[in-house]
Subunit: 108 residues, 2 copies
């Protein structure tokens, strides 16, 4: 792929039911990743931006977590219905979505 | 985790034997990831830098691939014995390791 203008990383870490850390998988990250993929495809954004699933991003109680580089912005508790705002506001217009930012104690 | 100064992403994508795209797993990415993890632990680097495995980064014939953000540098065909140079040269001293850079046709 060409070097993307922005690269979206979506935590896809799973853990067994009952694991004390929980996981982004348990919190619905598959639907978040799927929604990004759909919007990238529908908007023909793959040449401009990249989308990659990851192992644990470390903020398991804040999941589903999403990091956008090179801006080094982490979003927390992202829902599928938040994805359009990240795509339009942050990726396309360059303004991180303030209401979804991870707390500074987690990523600051 | 605190926001890292640099964030190392190592492709950990696997595919079944004989798959036409191959994969970074087939090319030895597990040993590369493991070597980064060992050096992060031994050097107590986890507070400063982050290390995350990923799904496919798209350059399957250039694997194992590694991307360092926020610099947006992709390394190709990384071997475990290359990791120390990336850690010391790039992460600590800020100078990407030229000889390991992915070709511009792949990430340019």
């Amino acid at each position: 792929m060409p070097k993307p203008q922005k690269h979206v990383f979506v935590c896809a870490q799973a853990r067994p039911p009952g694991h004390p850390r929980g996981s982004c998988a348990q919190l619905g990250c598959a639907q978040v990743l799927q929604t990004f993929a759909q919007q990238f495809e529908q908007g023909q954004l793959y040449g401009q931006f990249a989308l990659t699933s990851t192992g644990c991003l470390g903020a398991c109680d804040q999941g589903p977590t999403v990091i956008v580089y090179p801006d080094a912005v982490m979003y927390a508790k992202v829902k599928p219905e938040d994805v359009a705002e990240i795509v339009s506001g942050h990726l396309k217009e360059g303004a991180p979505v303030e209401r979804l930012l991870a707390p500074a104690a987690v990523w600051g």
